[in-house]
Symmetry: C2
Subunit: 343 residues, 2 copies
Amino acid sequence: MRDVGNRPTIADIAKRVGVSPGAVSFALNGRPGVSEQTRARILEVAREMNWRPHRAARALGGAQAGVVGLVLARDPRTLGSEQFYTQILYGMQDVLSAHSSAVQMQLVRDTAAEIDLYRHWASEHRVDGLVLVDLQLDDPRIAVVRELGLPAVTLGLPGEPDQLPSVWADDAEAMTTIVDYLAALDHRRIAHVAGPPVYQHTARRAAALRAQVSERGLHAGESVPTDFSDAQGAAATRALLSRADRPTAIVYDSDLMAAAGLGVALEMGIEVPRQLSIVSFDDSVLTRIVHPALTCLSRDTHALGAQVATTLLEAIADASSRVSVRTETPRLVVRGSTARPAG
Amino acid sequence: MRDVGNRPTIADIAKRVGVSPGAVSFALNGRPGVSEQTRARILEVAREMNWRPHRAARALGGAQAGVVGLVLARDPRTLGSEQFYTQILYGMQDVLSAHSSAVQMQLVRDTAAEIDLYRHWASEHRVDGLVLVDLQLDDPRIAVVRELGLPAVTLGLPGEPDQLPSVWADDAEAMTTIVDYLAALDHRRIAHVAGPPVYQHTARRAAALRAQVSERGLHAGESVPTDFSDAQGAAATRALLSRADRPTAIVYDSDLMAAAGLGVALEMGIEVPRQLSIVSFDDSVLTRIVHPALTCLSRDTHALGAQVATTLLEAIADASSRVSVRTETPRLVVRGSTARPAG
DNA sequence: GTGAGTAACTAAAGCGCTATAGTCAACGCT
DNA sequence: AGCGTTGACTATAGCGCTTTAGTTACTCAC
């Protein structure tokens, strides 16, 4: 086997330095119990021998696995723009690697599979903590995570406050930002192509839109649910644009659907932005690549990931932590897809 | 600590059944040394107590970590559509989870960081094997992986044959398929917006294009290198289309660049497909979402990932394995972006 | 100059599991 | 009857590390 390449153990270092393995352990972990002189000598030898801790051995002693889990529940056929999570991952890694930890990302088919995976991970001690994304109304994962005693943070605000530590941006305020802008351009009929209604953020955005519409006396504020796929995004757009009093502006819950919607407008001969304004809730290359480029909400996703990691590390260190970190509300980046409506 | 939630160990089962821990281990691992009757009893109790192996404990005994690594070296700013790797990941997982293994995916900035990570993983016994992607000419990772004694498979053919087990598709043939089709449509000036020239697949495609062009007596066959970003894809397209004898067809190494190229054509008032045909080497939502939808090479990425996982598992089981699995050549999916050139 | 206190260690147990070397009874064979 | 076998176990060591409970040698106070 390849394991014959016997890597150095703590005992090897001990022998070489002439102390006991315990002393080496103390030295390497910055614990008291060895003189500064011996510590220095041990560290030197360890570096020289290129020693690295054996994670499994540490984990066995009850220590941490050095891995946090991030599960994405997606229908494999509707793999949308994973850009967002790629960035989140990147941001998390940057923080975690400084704590010699890593992210274990896994894709599963649905929430049931996600929950199975959590149980599995917990029973095998594979992860030290979890990041829960795509929060749902009455999310079943929260109870499971609590039952398993796994530290976790949610990306997005859970339904009830104080359920779990969370990192979130204000969806309602974000929607308000968009409506503010569209209303200022004199749009009166604004529609919303939303994600699946089970998601907290979708529900919050739809509610915010309704509130804004009634507050400002606008004409429409309907949210059309979809499964986030480009196909349903297109279909919803087609339906909205086929109406007699069709909206002059559509807000999309994802960049992918916004791009698909743009395609539909093109196909129906409706000019963007002259006859229809389009706003996307997500930013990515996609919004920049289509023509006209899409006005969208943009946020520093990398920083968001880093924040999530930081919060998770705290939750791991202090199981009773229940902090709720509010991040900056995404800001509106205006591009070519929005304008004052014609006529 | 949360670990107080004492999960059952093999010793607990032993006590309950009234045998020694060793016997339980035999029973659970399907090893001889226990009667069928006792084995059945042990398995029953294990299920009842919801026992799961503690991975760290197993790994400590020299067993496998149950994780394979996949590192993507990317400049965080030019994170393209990672759809391809998302699908690969999915395909791998489906195979690996049947062997109670998982993929550890990590994003790093460059190849140097990637190599560091491999050394780190190896020294910590974190992974059982690696998947090497985006193969380069004279790839430095191959020597490192060999030195570390880590089983690995390459996704894409390495420079020298028999360096490592690999799973690959024939890039030259794929390019030939495209040129065949374009030539049949009477395109004479075909250009190629390529990736960075260090990549094996880019080099192979460029070479195949040159070969085809000279063989068929076409007029151009230039490959313009880029960094895979939409910006450079757009710039390359702009340069090509600004020439007096501009190409009538452009082949792009990625869907992202193809979409960006389409945008440039639009911006320059060059009609697609009447005045310019566009072909992408990659398929994804992106190619379907733009207008016109892009003609592209398509392959079953999920199956590809599964194949990679299978090959890797073999390589882990048999370190001397050097199989080279050729997968089907991507097939051409014709959409609206290609046509007979005008005039 | 004796006892308490402390710094700097060592010894040893233990984390959960696997693996190897016994042990012991039942069996078959000459 | 005595021998070697076999099957079904048990006992034990060990994987690499952490951690607790010692054990020294020293220092300091009175």
